[in-house]
Symmetry: C2
Subunit: 273 residues, 2 copies
């Protein structure tokens, strides 16, 4: 279509360049179009808005995923009044199918928290699955509702330290206890006794709690923190190793005692025969 | 630059359209360029390859994140020989700075597992943070190394059922125990006694284990599973509620007994005066 006899060579080159860029960009544009436009058209409708119950809630649960659900079930079984907030449309649909009365909305919005009863509630569980948003939310909620107690789900130790910058917040690292249980089960699979495996988990938890507090002031200082964390890890391992050796010796002693006991009985039986 | 006197109106319109698309696409192209090209140039070099230790390992840990690390520390303190595999370059750099001897590579590759000693190891911990890859890996590893015991990290209940399709695999749901502990702490914050809060968590865990097994055969059937899960949830809540009421009554009884005891002492003291 474009010939040198119709326009200058300069223009032809420019046009070629533009066409080349356009062609290269086409899949990107198409993808972007699909992502931005089509997905919006296809998106599910917003879930039906449920009215909030009258009366003050005891607890507001922000984020009703695999984490918030278990805590909520313990609260309900203890007759606490709980309001549930969830931001994912997909999740809400599933939850309502399972019979949960979940409110739809972004729990990091202070006005939604207020409507949900945060002025009156005793406890706010920040159990959303988004590190940064959780940190922001904890801070904003503390500012807006200084009397509410906040218990937040932390991604890991680093996130836990970040959350704890807001006064009066408590945290639970979302995989810590499960990882400990995983380790305990691994020990059992390798033939370690129930007692020793359980003791390993308990000692580890105690040590972790101790160092979690001790290392908190270093949380921002990369090098100092790394060094202190290495030290604490080595100390924990030494202590744990000593404890495991102690229990193993105890168990050996008991086994021997049982064996001797058996031997005595055997001899006694023999004499009796 | 483009004038109607140089080329036809048709061509001008086409050109305008192309330019418009190009302009619209420019940020996309730039972003794509940055993502595809620059990030590759800037990407860190692959971590140094560490030689594998001689001698057979007891355990291979695939995925050395927040989950695998804790289990590994329990194993090391019990003198098991552990080989660590991690796929994230960024993570490896941090880990080595913390003093860990971690091998770099994709642990879902059977040849890497073999090099790591999977033919001889007793236990494989699949602790990677990728649901689909974990499922594939568990299946492939069981095929290739039928004698190894596999303990896998599961994202949630649904993923756990998927992993358990492979024979001889055990699982740990990665947030279950922490969520339970989170719920226990929430109860404490609301003034529930330590004993009652702990008991709530224990009863919940027992019930969950029971229904986890009972519902396993329904895992694929959406409607039946949903119905059974709702039932099991209601039963658990009823049972938990009854147990909480029982403990609360016990505690009331004890409080009363203590109060009476106090009253007796007070009267005895008065008589003595």
């Amino acid at each position: 279509v474009v010939g040198a006899h119709v326009m200058g060579a300069e223009l032809a080159r420019m046009l070629t360049a533009i066409v080349a860029v356009s062609m290269a960009a086409t899949p990107l544009v198409t993808t972007a179009y699909e992502k931005l436009v089509l997905s919006r058209l296809e998106a599910r409708a917003e879930p039906e808005n449920l009215p909030f119950d009258e009366g003050d809630p005891d607890v507001i649960v922000a984020g009703f995923g695999r984490f918030g659900q278990i805590a909520t079930r313990l609260l309900l079984a203890n007759n606490f009044k709980v309001v549930l907030l969830e931001n994912s449309i997909e999740q809400i649909e599933i939850l309502r199918r399972f019979g949960w009365r979940v409110h739809y909305g972004d729990a990091s919005r202070i006005d939604l928290l207020r409507t949900a009863g945060a002025d009156k509630a005793k406890l706010l569980l920040v159990a959303i699955d988004d590190r940064d948003k959780a940190s922001e939310m904890v801070e904003a909620a503390h500012q807006a509702f200084p009397n509410i107690t906040i218990l937040a789900r932390a991604f890991d130790r680093r996130h836990a330290y970040e959350l704890l910058k807001t006064p009066g917040v408590s945290v639970e690292r979302e995989t810590f206890e499960s990882a400990l249980n995983y380790g305990r089960k691994a020990l059992l699979k390798l033939g370690v006794s129930e007692r020793r495996a359980l003791r390993a988990a308990i000692v580890f938890r105690e040590q972790d709690e101790k160092y979690f507090k001790e290392l908190a002031p270093l949380a921002g200082e990369e090098d100092n923190y790394t060094m202190a964390a290495r030290d604490s890890r080595e100390t924990t391992e030494r202590l744990l190793r000593a404890e495991m050796t102690r229990i193993a010796a105890e168990e050996d002693g008991e086994r021997e005692a049982r064996a001797q006991e058996g031997q005595h009985r055997l001899e006694a039986d023999k004499e009796r025969v």
